[in-house]
């Protein structure tokens, strides 16, 4: 064998498999994980906005709510719902096939 042929043989031995489902699966998992983190982070500003708006509306809501009892749990639920909606909306947009 010529040195060129020997070099080619050794390099060919180092090649990765053309199809590697295990590697592709790990890559898909890492992308999905990164996307989930980014989706949650993207929803945080919206949750903050929702909380601020609800806090600002508290005097109005307090007058509307005549059932008595603390308004805070309701506001908390509304805030959480707003955050969940924002996160879900963002996730649907990002995960929708292009």
């Amino acid at each position: 064998m010529t040195p060129e042929q020997k070099l080619a043989a050794i390099f060919a031995q180092q090649a990765a498999p053309a199809r590697d489902l295990v590697f592709m699966t790990v890559v898909a998992q890492r992308i999905a994980r990164r996307r989930a983190v980014l989706s949650v982070l993207a929803g945080l500003p919206w949750a903050l906005v929702a909380a601020v708006v609800l806090w600002a509306l508290q005097p109005v809501l307090q007058r509307v709510w005549t059932g008595g009892g603390a308004l805070e749990p309701v506001l908390g639920l509304l805030g959480l719902s707003a955050f969940a909606l924002a996160a879900a909306f963002g996730a649907v947009r990002r995960l929708t096939p292009g």
Partner: protein, 175 residues
């Protein structure tokens, strides 16, 4: 579909198109990383996964959809270079993995070890040029684009790398 068509779809948000692109180029990228980093498959695959994640997040920065392969290799190369610098490892470590391979037919164990030592003696830039052009058959122009090196530098690195490797294998580079 061509790389350009898939890259355009991936840039528009298609996960399926991005996955097909990665499937198409993962073998070349992982082989390049293994030869350049000098470690085993675990390290090369770790860097490859990081590069793919970076590419996924940076798709909007891909200006020329027809050069996805070079762009992806460029990201992988920068990751590899950072890893090499961060680990500050010696040259001997960089190609020690070659000694763990069985010699292919026609290559003696001594030649395999000599090649491993010769690869270890190459600087990372030269090793990267050798990995792309000699091992994977990239053109000098493509390698220059991927590695962000001047074309003349790539040609000189490939020539120098080839000469060192041929010398290790008992030949001479008459090219």
């Amino acid at each position: 579909m061509t790389d350009a068509e898939l890259a355009a779809q991936a840039r528009a948000g298609s996960d399926a198109a991005f996955a097909r692109l990665i499937e198409r180029h993962q073998a070349a990228m992982r082989g390049f990383l293994r030869r350049t980093l000098g470690g085993g498959w675990a390290e090369a695959d770790d860097v490859a996964q990081e590069a793919i994640l970076t590419a996924w997040r940076s798709l909007h920065r891909l200006k020329d959809v027809s050069s996805f392969r070079s762009w992806l290799l460029g990201i992988a190369w920068r990751r590899a270079r950072d890893r090499i610098r961060a680990s500050r490892r010696g040259a001997a470590r960089d190609a020690a993995w070659l000694e763990t391979l069985e010699a292919p037919t026609g290559v003696s164990p001594a030649e395999r070890v000599a090649l491993a030592q010769a690869m270890a003696g190459l600087t990372p830039d030269v090793r990267a040029c050798v990995a792309l052009c000699l091992a994977d058959g990239w053109s000098h122009a493509e390698a220059a684009l991927a590695l962000s090196l001047p074309l003349g530098t790539v040609k000189s690195h490939v020539a120098r790398g080839r000469a060192r490797l041929f010398e290790a294998l008992g030949g001479s580079d008459d090219a």
